[in-house]
Subunit: 458 residues, 2 copies
């Protein structure tokens, strides 16, 4: 069974979870996933949820067998703008050593790699002493609204497992694999400034009323200090500098300040105290504006003092911070800076803590990890080194995957995250793709990793 052919067939189902018009695509992808799991020798179950069902595949066995949970998601992002794709998003196409199609990298390709690695292993070692639970959800791209309920329902079964294994994070490419040792948390805000009861003529009233855009700009400008740090009292409470081993690991990452500037298209990187810009993306908390709007945005000029203006921003959080605490500190700081003449509303749109899963033994390894995690990390290192020709880097990633923290909180399980897509994979964008060589080597790595985990026992 050619893996590229399998992923291509999987991509053919337009499983866009956010749009009810794609219900048939969701059902098709679900059926395909179920057959894939059955083909690997697993007992398949499709579990209903309030929205999109979850596909489960199980290999049971005695309690002394190690128990690995594989996670993936069969839903995908919308494909628009369609006219920016070089080939149709739901007809996978191989070009220049890459497989193009919506879901090729996020996440059909990567979790198919894991399942095919498992399938190869079980074909070769039908008596392998390993328990496996594969969980493929259909709501990841819309925030996994049903996943919390699923975790609660299956808490007993899952808590008994050893660790979660998944591939939904990023590696730099060039055959260098990253095992992701942490994810930043996130706290989201919408700040709305209201001034006069209605838009005003800026000639007739200009000079008598505080312009909401001016007030918004002043509040937003106050949220960073000139040194680049976030200017919220207590924002850095509990935040530790990255460990020396993490800085050393990042130095091996194939990205220099110069090449990063070139990639981003900027003349200078942002600087803040105590970390380099490249370290900042993984190890430092941030406050980033995501959107701003107010008044007249069309062509030309409309000389209005707008009644309102707003900004959306998110803080990325690191270990030592909690979303609950940051939300209150940001809200209090913003409200303390509201000038006379405007009203300000601060809406909190989301909040999740950071997640850390550094290899046991490292100085910042959380005490809550299960003993099996150490064996899993060791197995991953060997398996990746053998399959890709060089050992993985162990790095925290700057993004946020709230379900990883949810799993830890609900079941106590840590997640071993092996990055199979790369920056060129164009996640959530046109021409999404996955490297063909990574597919082959990834399957071999999964096969070796799982075999070692089984051999190590409990």
């Amino acid at each position: 069974m050619d893996p590229v052919r399998v992923i291509s067939d999987y991509v053919r189902f337009p499983s866009v979870s956010t749009d009810p018009a794609f219900a048939a695509g969701m059902a098709g992808a679900r059926d395909f996933a179920a057959q894939l799991l059955a083909g690997a020798g697993l007992a398949v179950e499709v579990e209903q949820t309030p929205l999109h069902p979850i596909v489960l595949g199980r290999r049971t066995g005695p309690a002394h067998w190690p128990h690995v949970v594989l996670y993936g998601h069969y839903d995908v992002q919308p494909a628009d703008p369609l006219d920016q794709w070089a080939s149709p998003p739901f007809e996978a196409q191989v070009r220049d050593g890459r497989l193009y199609g919506r879901g090729a990298a996020d996440n059909k390709g990567p979790h198919t790699v894991g399942i095919l690695g498992l399938a190869n292993l079980l074909k070769r070692r039908p008596d392998l002493p390993l328990r496996v639970t594969v969980i493929l959800e259909g709501e990841e791209e819309i925030g996994s609204p049903s996943f919390g309920g699923f975790l609660q329902k299956h808490r007993a079964e899952l808590s008994e497992a050893d660790f979660v294994l998944l591939s939904d994070t990023c590696s730099p490419g060039g055959g260098q694999i990253v095992v992701t040792t942490g994810l930043r948390g996130i706290a989201g805000f919408e700040l709305r400034v209201s001034g006069p009861r209605t838009d005003l003529h800026s000639g007739l009233h200009g000079g008598a009323v505080l312009n909401p855009i001016q007030a918004l700009a002043e509040i937003c400008a106050s949220l960073h200090k000139p040194d680049g740090s976030v200017n919220i009292p207590g924002f850095y409470d509990g935040v530790a500098a990255p460990e020396q081993w993490e800085r050393d690991e990042l130095k091996k990452f194939p990205l220099s300040g110069e090449s990063y500037k070139k990639f981003l298209g900027v003349a200078a990187l942002y600087s803040q105290p105590d970390v380099t810009p490249i370290e900042a993306t993984r190890y430092a908390p941030t406050l980033e504006f995501n959107g701003v709007g107010g008044g007249y945005q069309g062509e030309g000029q409309k000389t209005v003092i707008p009644a309102t203006a707003f900004a959306k921003f998110t803080c990325r959080l690191v270990p030592g911070q909690t979303a609950t605490d940051i939300v209150e500190k940001v809200r209090a700081a913003v409200l303390a800076r509201v000038p006379a003449g405007v009203r300000v509303e601060v809406k909190v749109t989301q909040g999740n803590d950071a997640y850390l899963v550094v290899p046991p033994g490292k100085p910042n390894a959380p005490a809550s990890a299960k003993p099996a995690l150490a064996r899993a990390f060791a197995a991953a290192e060997t398996a990746i080194a053998n399959a890709f020709g060089s050992p993985p880097l162990f790095l925290r990633e700057g993004g946020s995957v709230p379900i990883i923290g949810d799993i830890k909180r609900e079941t106590g399980l840590d997640s071993l995250m092996i990055g199979l897509f790369t920056p060129e994979s164009n996640l959530h964008a046109p021409d999404e793709s996955l490297d063909l060589d990574t597919i082959t080597r990834g399957i071999a790595a999964y096969e070796s990793l799982l075999e070692q985990v089984a051999a190590a026992g409990r």
Copy 2:
């Protein structure tokens, strides 16, 4: 001929100059205006321009007769949002002592008042020694693009006149008329900040790149000082405080700080040095943001670092400033504040100087006024006092009417501006209206004013 009926018939023609779909409405309004002028006893001419024709009405006579130019515009703003009108915008309706309809106040009603005042006068005094040129343009609401060419073509004829008389400014209502003694100039800007070459994932890249919205906020916040003044070096060069007589006149204006706050719906007015907020709207220069945009503005959150963000803003200028000078100062100040890591483009969208036409004899009266202007001011004061029961206030207005300055520059003519609409008139908004009593009294005032001007000779 009932004046309310005349204005209602005029309103019936949807003369929206900005939208080619309203060509028939423009033509209908033009024909109506031509008949109105002919009915007043004037020789009518419709002059073609590159876009919308100008309707002219002339009463000629010997050179020793005074020569008044009446200005108005027969085009109107678009009427949308249509669903917010209590009655159809192009079917004028009388309710509670006001005439509702698009153009009732801006400007069909007010210039019809002037023409009907003239018509009454000429009917009663067919031998009146007065020359009149009525100019009704059809592009005022789109920035009068053809008017400069018209002025150049008619420079000789117009330069020989005594003054321009028009009603396209605001009075406070309650029977109190304002003669507008100045208009602020305007300089318009669009500021665009560009950072990374494309929108970035704020998790993967947050912390390494200066967010264009943050840079925009910091630049925008820098444009005012904490005391409320504009923070552009040299911005106030040449700006004089309002004259004591202007402050005294404004104190008679029926608007208190408290009532203004209530009208605006704000808890506090804006404050800046040396002027009260109410003085600031007429006598001080400003920098007001008109619009801001960037990144994700939809529902919920999209965790992006946007590639660009922009702000639109306008400076209102007062005598002593020039648009050319302010444009350069603003541009230089903004470009001097661009932080590393972003690029900034400053586009200048418009520029016009302030205009001052205070009654001759006042300390700040410009020396360039024609002698006839003093007689015109005196006639206006008497005519308005008689028609409305109290003398007018002589006040500068905060808005900008670039053509008034253009007329002065091209022909040397000053403009006597009699405010007939009020804040309740809802200019450029749904439920535009004009007070019926103002129509009657306005016609009488115009009749008396023109009769006095004729009597005074040259």
